[in-house]
């Protein structure tokens, strides 16, 4: 046996026959090089064994997804961005839509656009009169921040209106995504708004713009209360609940819990009820909840479209009260008008919702949270060409 033979056998020493093992031992007694190799092989083996063996199992969710993929014989290229709405997708989108509808002045409508003092302007708002006279872009990108009762921007969404193709793309970003702020510091995405005080919206805008390497034109900050109010204003929505929903531990706004129950079948929901329907988590799983949210968005959107705009705008004071203090934006009024008009011709099929799910994230060392995987980031950026 020469050194080459011995060194290959050393790598699989447990596989050796008794005779082979004797030969190897014989060789090792007089060969320093092979002894050194044996040392190295043993050490590498020992080191590799130190990698812990987890006892975990994939969750049922992942398993059913794979079973489904195999059954349907999907190709290897899987869509990373699912067509599901984020937690706040419905409320924020409808809020945006409403805001825009509000500023639309159709010919037969008797109402006038609201003067901006009903909306808290931020310092950087440029009066329309000072804007250079140039045609509006075909694509407008808006950062929508949904703020809950606690004041956090629980929902961070980037909305892209493509007027030429009559298409809207909405991407929900995870609020605890770890990002680099424009000032160089790092932190959670939902903290971006809080970091710089009254310039929060502009700051958050720059943060997302940097993250996705795409220009973000405007921001809109909305409060939770809007969702309920919008549903009530359109007279509620009719939802066909697919199966019985029962949540014995639905959190109430005063930190208590209440028992929530929905029977299966079509039913009319007011704002409060619709909000519960999209927010409940304990009755089923997150996947189902996303489907419920989509369902309500569609119902609301169609409901908004069913009625002629003037009827929508009849209750002017309601709108003003609702928007007052609940909305902040740096979007100039003429852009709102413009986008609002474009939004009117949209069908619900023209709106695509995407959300970042856990498969697109990669964990970071504490206190950082997680960031987007490179391919997920690419996929996201493709939505904002």
């Amino acid at each position: 046996m020469n050194c080459n033979d011995v060194q290959q056998y050393l790598a699989v020493r447990t596989e050796l026959s008794w005779v082979q093992e004797q030969e190897v031992q014989e060789h090792l007694r007089k060969c320093a090089a092979c002894n050194a190799r044996w040392q190295v092989i043993s050490r590498s083996r020992q080191t590799l064994r130190a990698l812990p063996t987890p006892a975990a199992q994939p969750n049922d969710h992942a398993l059913s997804a794979i079973r489904l993929a195999l059954r349907q014989r999907f190709g290897p290229s899987r869509r990373r961005l699912g067509m599901v709405g984020g937690v706040f997708a419905s409320l924020t989108f409808i809020g945006v839509l409403l805001l825009m509808l509000w500023f639309v002045q159709p010919e037969q409508a008797t109402v006038r656009p609201v003067v901006p003092d009903n909306i808290e302007p931020v310092a950087s708002v440029v009066p329309t009169s000072e804007l250079p006279d140039m045609p509006l872009n075909n694509v407008v990108t808006v950062l929508v921040l949904g703020r809950d009762e606690g004041g956090r921007t629980d929902s961070v969404m980037l909305v892209r209106f493509d007027r030429r193709n009559e298409h809207v793309t909405i991407v929900s970003l995870p609020r605890s995504l770890w990002v680099t702020y424009p000032n160089g510091e790092a932190g959670r995405l939902d903290a971006a708004y809080l970091v710089s005080g009254d310039q929060g919206g502009v700051f958050a805008k720059a943060t997302v713009s940097k993250l996705l390497d795409t220009p973000v034109d405007y921001f809109i900050l909305l409060d939770f209360a809007i969702f309920e109010a919008v549903v009530d204003l359109v007279g509620g929505v009719t939802i066909d609940v697919p199966t019985v929903l029962d949540d014995p531990r639905y959190p109430t706004s005063n930190n208590g819990i209440t028992h929530l129950h929905f029977d299966a079948g079509p039913q009319h929901m007011d704002g409060k009820r619709a909000l519960m329907y999209v927010r409940t988590r304990h009755a089923d799983d997150e996947f189902q909840r996303n489907l419920r949210q989509q369902q309500v968005i569609k119902a609301l959107f169609e409901r908004l479209q069913q009625q002629p705009l003037p009827q929508q705008l009849v209750r002017v004071n309601d709108y003003i009260d609702m928007l007052k203090g609940n909305v902040q934006t740096d979007m100039p009024q003429d852009v709102m008008l413009d986008v609002g008009q474009a939004a009117l011709v949209l069908q619900s099929d023209d709106i695509q919702f995407y959300t970042v799910d856990t498969t697109m994230l990669v964990g970071l060392e504490l206190p950082a949270t997680f960031e987007l995987k490179p391919d997920a980031l690419d996929a996201l950026m493709q939505q904002f060409p």
Partner: protein
Amino acid sequence: MDVVSHMAQADRAEVLSDWFEAYHRQVFRYLLRLVADHETAADLLQDTFLRALVTLNPAQPPSHPSAWLYRIATNLALNTLRRRRRWRWLSFQTDAVAAGFEESVVQSQLIRACLAQLRPKEAETLLLYEYVGLTSVEIAALTGEKPSTVRVRLSRASARFCRLYDQESQQ
């Protein structure tokens, strides 16, 4: 698509579904050991079976399905480790949770970093031998090589791994 290849594809999906039920637990544990992150491991599990679905030739099924699946899983996991290394995403909080204590986390990350730097074939062989527990003859049957070729590579891979580990741990 003609009838024959359509049937072949239906067969493939059927076969893969059976294999999935039989092997997904062990393959997932293996992937999780390598990538330390539940979500990534679940992703790779799916990728493994979808890749298998595409490459499986019903006329010539692998003689050892589990070994064949492990090989696919190994290469997908190694790709992930290499990509992470490139992006310098070597630290994972999930790892700390999995391991339970700091020291082992550091060592685990070192091991993964070293595996990511090995030559692809060497890393594949090393993992199949050390972690999956295949013999050199089984690996050779899987890759269509001579057992001696596999053993030589294994020996070199161990040496290289050891050298890398020493370098990395000194940094």
